[in-house]
Symmetry: C2
Subunit: 73 residues, 2 copies
DNA sequence: TCAAATAGAGCAATATAATGCACTATTTTA
DNA sequence: TAAAATAGTGCATTATATTGCTCTATTTGA
């Protein structure tokens, strides 16, 4: 899924920016380390709850925004 | 989960604004009708893929944004 | 450079999301 | 206000997300 990557990168970059390891983020968020590893490495299709838990610790939140309609793509 | 509701409402309202029934949205998105019903009725914890499929048809996209840090809440 | 820290993956068990079917409840509309 | 359309739920099955354990690969820093 093309759009997954954007979310993955946001999480990954944000985590690194905050200098948090996968292990720490897993603990802090209550998400299993294995689950986080899978998500960040592009395997996996997390549940909304899992994504929210991760985002929350990183000071992010999941949202829905209008797609850019006028793209010539 | 408090924050789920916001996402649910966004989906639900957007769907209604576009005058699309659950049945249509389910078909168009490729998500099972049962799954959509559960999500909109507040039961359920959809996978990111499911959420994206629904959002996509409605002209929305899942994103991560910075949380409002300075809230006295 | 090489040892420690961090990240990724195989395997297997368990929890739960996704789904369809059939039915009920609610809403819409003629 | 009654019929039709739309939305919500119980039950059961299947698919798959989550998890821990263990091991390997990669990255980092002294």
């Amino acid at each position: 899924m093309m759009h997954f990557e954007e979310l993955i990168n946001t999480i990954k970059e944000r985590r690194k920016m905050l200098r948090v390891t996968q292990e720490s983020l897993a603990e802090l968020s209550g998400v299993g380390l294995r689950t986080l590893k899978q998500f960040e490495s592009g395997k996996g299709n997390p549940t909304l709850l899992t994504l929210q838990k991760l985002a929350d610790v990183l000071g992010l939140e999941v949202c829905l925004k209008l797609k850019n309609v006028s793209r010539s793509k």
